[in-house]
């Protein structure tokens, strides 16, 4: 096995561990820290089912962003949907042809949608980048990392498209490499430069996910402003540390 392949095997495992460990760590933190007060932004749902619907609408349609800014919404939404389609397309590298899921992934629709998603993803990202450059308010709030993040994902999309259009790689060997990772049976990685650039950037993105603003993904589900049921008069809400205060002075009894 080539040295390069060994390096990438290690990188894959490290990146995966950082990604999963880092996100799990953050989610546990968000779960552990209590929400001492009812702070739902109203009008808010009166039931848990209503909250699920509210979050679903936010996650799938970016409802609040739609109300806020149509331009940011259209570029942001196109980007995220493209990301999802590209993700589906890539599933063929991790699914064995023997399983029943295979036909669901390896078909014309998923593959071609996922492929064109590369272009739409670039359109979305370019729009978001342009907003940072041309809208004075958004420019003011942007740090270098905000631009770099967009450039990184643009690089991933761009290199991905190049693999499809400019410099094909040995996808059979690539799949063998990926499946090898899962089976703890390391295989060689095709050494095409564009593929390596593509993979390196993806691994870097995975590793910075838990320590960057990409935490907006899990954060969305933990915002008390959106995930609380509007029932403070009907049901008493009290945090562990709030209850401790009460126990100390007994003034609530």
């Amino acid at each position: 096995m080539s040295v390069l392949s060994i390096i990438y095997v290690v990188l894959f495992y490290v990146a995966l561990a950082v990604l999963i460990g880092g996100i799990a760590n953050k989610i546990m933190l968000y779960k552990r820290v209590p929400a001492p007060l009812k702070i739902a932004v109203t009008p808010a749902p009166l039931t848990t089912g209503g909250v699920v619907y509210r979050l679903f609408y936010e996650v799938v349609f970016f409802n609040s962003l739609f109300r806020a800014s149509k331009w940011t919404w259209i570029f942001g939404w196109i980007f995220h949907v493209s990301l999802l389609l590209a993700f589906f397309r890539h599933l063929r590298y991790v699914i064995s042809p023997d399983t029943f899921i295979w036909p669901l992934v390896n078909n014309m629709i998923v593959q071609s949608f996922g492929h064109y998603a590369g272009f739409t993803m670039l359109v979305g990202l370019a729009g978001l980048f342009a907003r940072r450059v041309f809208v004075d308010r958004v420019k003011y709030i942007s740090s270098a990392s905000d631009y770099l993040m967009l450039l990184l994902i643009m690089g991933i999309a761009g290199s991905g498209l190049m693999i499809v259009y400019v410099a094909h790689t040995d996808v059979i060997q690539l799949k063998a490499f990926v499946m090898g990772l899962f089976l703890a049976d390391p295989q060689n990685l095709p050494s095409d430069p564009i593929l390596l650039v593509h993979i390196t950037m993806v691994l870097f993105l995975a590793m910075i996910f838990p320590i960057s603003k990409l935490l907006h993904a899990p954060g969305l589900f933990f915002a008390p402003t959106r995930n609380q049921v509007d029932n403070p008069r009907e049901k008493r809400h009290i945090s562990p540390w709030g209850a401790e205060l009460e126990a100390k002075d007994g003034r609530n009894s």
Binding site: A35, L37, I39, V41, S64, T72, R137, R236
Partner: protein, 516 residues
């Protein structure tokens, strides 16, 4: 009238180009030692300085807050700087200062969070690259900047409506203000008022004898006016309802006309009620300064008063943030309320009470009494976005409008993007209703004033009704800056008061008319 420009109003809203530093000079008076002491906050040896070890203390309290408030922890991490909130704050629209954009306001402290509490910030700062991820060191200048701009936020949550991640700048402002107070930089206005609530019973410092006197005066006023004896009971044990209302209702215009409205509704409904001198204040400035303990202390007065007087129900008067605390937090902070009558909402809003009376047809209403006015309604931020009145999501919008339209013939809403949950703050909420922030208040009122002026031009509106003591006081003050008059702001229950006809009303009044 002022040594600054009053913002222009336009036919259609205009988002200003940013003007860096345009409000950097705006900062409220810092609380002196006496007020810090009253609140249990430390004070520096020299005024204008910070306490010894302020930096460590700041970071320690910040960490403690991150451990105690999920909102703060999640909001510090989750912002992607998408810019959705940047044009939503009335203070940004009115001042064009980019630090009044909600995300920039959050970043004042998020930058410190990134520097001291994140792997990325901690690592990059070692190489002098903290700025790459928007992290910065905590310095005295940063503290001063926070003090200035966290007192240019009215905690109105309009930004939180539009944030795709539900990030609420109010939560960040509250946390920052509390940390600042605990390193010796409390705000004078709020820290001066809160102790009065505990020592005297209300924000105004109106003691029991003066309150009794005022209420007696109101009884006489109504009797002179309509010839009916409407009572304003104080500290009456065994009354069914405890009315908790902002103390501005006892003396300020147009607030007091609203209080007379509540009293007439209670009278017509035939319920027994009382005000408590101990809890003669609905406002809870503990919310503004972001201090849970303080907010709880203030709330517990109401529990104590309700128990002492043996009431069965609690009704709140027209007040925005007070209703936010009452609706959302009273159960948490001062509950459980198992000793009250469980057949009624605990607490209940006066509009819920009045709406119910109107629905049951027990109020005798003559709408023509309000025919000299054409009304519009200002949704107060804390009622629109931080609580509910009525039984359905959004009934905080319909209930006041239904009540107004039940007592008035002429009504027109303002532009849809300026009402309901998109309503604009009056410009004086969240602990900013102080003369040392007048410029900010005037400029922050711009979006609301613009919508009102356009409604006046398009629909001949003459008056704007509100259900918040701070809104009413703020509008009374800023309307003249925009070419309108202070009496164009009215209480919703003032309209009810005008239109309601009580049993026995009229006979004596007509006699006195003849005597004139």
């Amino acid at each position: 009238m002022a040594d600054y420009d009053i913002p222009e109003t336009h036919e259609f809203p205009i988002i200003p180009s940013i003007m860096e530093g345009s409000m950097a000079h705006s900062s409220p008076f810092v609380a002196g030692k006496e007020f810090q002491d009253d609140m249990g906050f430390p004070s520096p040896e020299e005024p204008g300085e910070l306490i010894e070890g302020w930096k460590e203390k700041f970071l320690e309290i910040f960490q403690d807050k991150l451990n105690k408030y999920r909102s703060l922890q999640v909001f510090m991490d989750g912002c992607v700087k998408c810019g959705a909130c940047t044009d939503k704050c009335h203070y940004f629209i009115g001042t064009a200062d980019p630090k009044n954009m909600p995300v920039a306001r959050q970043d004042l402290i998020r930058s410190v969070y990134r520097y001291y509490f994140t792997f990325t910030g901690k690592t990059l700062s070692k190489f002098g690259l903290a700025g790459l991820v928007g992290a910065r060191e905590l310095t005295k200048e940063v503290i001063d900047e926070m003090y200035s701009y966290y007192h240019q936020c009215s905690e109105c949550r309009r930004c939180a409506v539009f944030c795709p991640f539900g990030i609420d700048t109010a939560e960040v402002t509250m946390a920052a203000r509390d940390i600042l107070a605990q390193i010796g930089m409390g705000q004078k206005y709020s820290n001066q008022i809160i102790p009065k609530v505990h020592k005297i019973g209300n924000n105004l410092g109106l003691p029991e004898p003066a309150l009794a006197d005022t209420l007696e005066g109101l009884e006489e006023e109504i009797e002179d006016d309509i010839g009916v004896k409407v009572r304003f009971p104080l500290d009456e044990k065994g009354a069914d309802i405890l009315l908790v209302t902002p103390s501005a209702d006892f003396f300020a215009e147009p607030h007091v006309d609203g209080l007379m409205g509540y009293a007439k509704v209670f009278h017509a409904a035939g319920v027994s009620w009382t005000i408590s001198s101990k809890a003669s204040e609905a406002a809870n400035f503990g919310l503004f300064i972001g201090n849970y303990e303080s907010m709880r202390e203030i709330s517990l007065r109401i529990r104590d008063a309700a128990k002492e007087l043996g009431v069965k129900r609690i009704v709140f008067g027209e007040c925005g943030h007070a209703w936010r605390v009452a609706y959302n937090h009273l159960n948490t902070l001062a509950g459980p309320w198992d000793f009250l009558d469980q057949n009624y909402p605990i607490p209940q809003h006066i509009l819920e009470f009045t709406k119910d009376c109107l629905d049951r047809g027990i109020l005798n209403i003559d709408k023509s009494e309000n025919d000299h006015m054409t009304l519009t309604f200002h949704d107060s931020c804390n009622i629109a976005r931080a609580s509910r009145i009525g039984e359905e999501p959004g009934s905080q919008f319909t209930t006041p409008r239904q009540v107004i339209q039940a007592v008035c013939n002429n009504y027109h809403d303002m532009a849809p993007e300026t009402i309901h949950d998109q309503t604009f703050c009056c410009g004086g909420g969240g602990g900013l209703l102080t003369d040392d922030l007048m410029e900010l208040r005037v400029k922050g009122a711009q979006p609301r004033m613009e919508a009102l002026k356009n409604n006046i031009a398009d629909n001949g509106v003459t008056h704007m009704a509100a259900i918040c003591a701070i809104c009413k006081s703020q509008f009374t003050k800023v309307l003249p800056y925009y070419g309108m008059t202070m009496d164009q702001i009215v209480s919703v229950h003032q309209l009810v008061s005008n239109a309601i006809i009580l049993d026995g009303q009229g006979e004596e009044a007509e006699e006195s008319d003849e005597a004139e």
